[in-house]
Amino acid sequence: MPGAGPPGEAAGMTMNACSTAIEVDRLRKRYGRKVAVDDVSFTVAAGEIFGLLGRNGAGKSTTVDCIVGLRTPDQGRIRIAGLDPRRDRRELRQLLGVQLQESQLPDKLTVAEAMRLYASFYRRPADTERLLAMLDLTDKRNTRYRKLSGGQKQRLSIALALIGRPRIAVLDELTTGLDPVARRDAWRLIEDIRNSGVTILLITHFMTEAERLCDRVAIMRDGQIAALGRPAALGTPTLEDTFVALTDRVPAGLTLTDETPDNQTLTDRRPR
């Protein structure tokens, strides 16, 4: 049983091929009358980089919220390294590292202070200095959050997600807003993290990113999984084509650009 032992034993973090890191089984979640997630199932193997793709409102965020225990599913079963996100909250928090989109830090907190603070939350924190070096933040250690660039903030956010030495990291729109060079640096970083034995659930809008990094992806549409598999197997000819074909409701031949005269009406017709 993966994760049956205490997370303290994650030192023996292995890429045990047959173990399951994340298991989502027939997940359902609705808000009022709107069904946000409808019968979603997938598993992520330990050591895998798994991509969750989909347009805004497709149900990615709700799925992630249920996985990390921020929301309670209406139906279905979730296991993270064998733990129930709601029932085994305390244990789960120790072995799950989360990077949330648009999550900030207090403006006047410095990088080193944020690292020390978050390190104090975990039983076996990673070495702060090493992590800062790995994320190229060492010379920013005394810089206040407000003064960091977008890329530096993102890297700090990743550092904080990793400081508890998680077995599983959930990275939500990690590279949104990064310039192309910073994005490529982030990709290398994610591969390094995976190579250190961490399972990664990546939520992204960038198909090239998913193609480059993910072992497998799930494409969500209207709260359901529209496609699931290796990016190369899904991508015909590219993953982006598959994504657009699966999730775009606009009649073929019409594209949604600002030049399209009835852009607005097309947008409005789409279900949220």
């Binding site: 921020l70 989360v98 830090l105 006047k108 202070e113 020390r116 104090s120 975990y122």
Partner: protein
């Protein structure tokens, strides 16, 4: 415990980096008391500085409790800091606890500062009923911090939290006597049922050597418990 200690240290450090909050909550009350102390006028034979000391002390708990806390909490919610903490072993409630601890501590320190200015600068005697005085200071700080928590629980953004706090500031401090230390009998009567009206009167009583009126303590206790309960009930983490 280690988490709460680190969060409290962090919040204290962040507060020290807010010179404006410090000026308004710590320096301004002392300056205001000094201005009153430099005036020779008296009301009913009592010096202005002695009349204003309880009012200024009430002001401190408004500055940190009602004006400081809601903006911090709403800002943390808006910046998704509470949500981020909810994914760590610390959880979001601990950081709120840390803010309450820091606010209460600063209120107590600033109160001691005001007493020192009054005593050393202008010879205002220290409270003759220290236990009663301390009880009222703690209760009124708890009531204002709880009120701040309630605003922070309900206000969706830091901006709206600040606006709500500003709107509340005026009636609260009016009944404390900030603008009219010598109120009409009817205003005074209504005032003793408001938290800061009760605070100034009870502080004045215990400075003069009497035990604070039970009604005043009850007003503060009810305010603290009711606000804290409502805040817990309606708190929005995101």
């Amino acid at each position: 415990m280690k988490m709460l200690r680190m969060l409290t240290l962090t919040e204290a450090r962040l507060l020290l980096r807010e010179p404006l909050a410090f000026f308004w909550g710590v320096a301004f009350p002392m300056v205001l008391l000094t201005v009153m102390g430099l005036s020779a006028s008296k009301i009913d034979g009592v010096s202005l500085v002695a009349i204003y000391e309880p009012i200024v002390i009430a002001f401190i708990s408004v500055a940190f409790g009602v004006q400081g806390i809601p903006v911090q909490i709403a800002g943390y919610r808006q910046g998704r800091i509470l949500r981020r903490l909810a994914t760590t072993p610390a959880g979001p409630a601990r950081v709120i606890g840390a803010q309450l601890i820091v606010s209460l501590a600063v209120i107590l320190i600033a109160t001691v500062g005001v007493l020192a200015v009054g005593r050393l600068g202008f010879g205002v005697p220290l409270p003759r009923q220290p236990a009663g005085f301390a009880l009222v200071v703690v209760l009124s700080a708890a009531a204002m911090v709880a009120l701040g928590l309630l605003i922070g629980a309900l206000a969706p953004t830091a901006r709206s939290a600040g606006a709500a706090a500003t709107v509340l500031f005026f009636p609260l401090m009016y009944f404390a006597g900030l603008w009219t230390p010598q109120m009409s009998a009817s205003a005074r009567h209504i005032g003793q049922f408001t938290p800061l009206g009760a605070t100034t009167q009870a502080l004045g009583d215990s400075m003069a050597g009497g035990w604070p009126h039970p009604a005043a303590l009850a007003v503060l206790g009810v305010c603290a418990i009711a606000c804290a309960g409502l805040a817990a009930r309606f708190f929005r983490w995101e």
